[in-house]
């Protein structure tokens, strides 16, 4: 459990979640540091490993590698999709733990979107993690009403 936030950032440690019932996982928090500083913690391996992973390989350009190894073994592996320095970062996100002696299977890809907005001397960071299983079957999605209509039209099992 995290302790109280240090500094003048304020708000809930780890940020506030978006309202319940929304399919996309979303968290926002204010950081008492400028966007140019916060940005480095996403694209500089030496800084990233201060908060996520024990080693990192980050090529911050569309198509570049995004790879973060956890202490216990699993490796988060993805690719940068959008890179707008100090403003917006999108990368795909999946895990791969190399199977013992087996053929590695390409990891699943969900998508993480990070936006940084200046807020006085600080930064408002919003993270959205798209494509999670609950997101895929979320009742809020357009496709759901279509499928409800289809189910209503089919004969009962």
């Amino acid at each position: 459990m995290s302790g109280p936030a240090v500094g003048s950032g304020g708000g809930t440690p780890g940020g506030d979640p978006a309202s319940e019932g929304d399919g996309v996982l979303e968290r926002s928090l204010r950081i008492a540091a400028p966007p140019e500083t916060v940005w480095q913690y996403w694209v500089d391996p030496g800084r990233m490993t201060q908060w996520w992973g024990v080693s990192a390989e980050l090529e911050a350009r569309p198509g570049g590698t995004c790879r973060v190894a956890m202490a216990q073994g699993p490796v988060m592996e993805g690719e940068f999709v959008e890179v707008v320095p100090h403003e917006r970062l999108v990368f795909t996100f999946g895990w791969t733990t190399p199977p013992p002696g087996g053929t590695p299977v390409p990891p699943a890809s969900t998508r993480v979107e990070v936006t940084l907005v200046p807020d006085g001397d600080g930064t408002l960071l919003t993270l959205r993690h798209h494509g999670l299983p609950a997101d895929q079957v979320g009742e809020h999605t357009e496709g759901w009403s279509h499928f409800l209509g289809v189910l209503a039209g089919t004969a009962a099992g």
């Binding site: 500094g7 996982l25 968290r27 913690y41 391996p45 908060w51 895990w95 999670l132 496709g143």
Partner: protein, 123 residues
């Protein structure tokens, strides 16, 4: 790290559009394997069965056997558990990110640390 393996399996499961479609089909009602396969007329039955197996092993669907038939339904705990795990992961990670970035900003403002170029770290 068993649960990360489960989460990983679930993320791989939904990386496939057919499996996403199946999840939506069985979201609110239980369907037999044959009823599910009818939604994918150009796919062989073994291929559909393989997709169902992946979903079941990832804990995303429940399987109920009725005689020789298998019936499938989305498993809400599977969906909710994964979201909760990742939500907590991001909450904890972002908290650490904030502490690190704010410490750096304070150090720079106080002259304890110069504004430096990002360090390269080859892995």
């Amino acid at each position: 790290m068993t649960y990360i393996n489960t989460v990983d399996a679930a993320l791989r499961a939904v990386a496939d559009p057919t499996r996403r479609h199946i999840l939506v089909l069985v979201r609110a009602r239980e369907l037999a394997a044959g009823e599910i396969a009818a939604h994918f007329p150009s796919m062989s039955r073994p291929a559909v069965s393989q997709h169902l197996k992946v979903l079941a092993e990832a804990g995303l669907v429940e399987v109920r056997r009725e005689g020789t038939h298998r019936r499938y339904r989305a498993r809400p705990e599977g969906l909710v558990g994964i979201r909760a795990f990742l939500d907590e992961m991001w909450r904890d990670r972002l908290d650490l990110l904030r502490e690190a970035a704010e410490t750096e900003a304070r150090d720079v403002a106080a002259g304890r640390r110069p504004v430096i170029r990002p360090r390269r770290r080859m892995q």
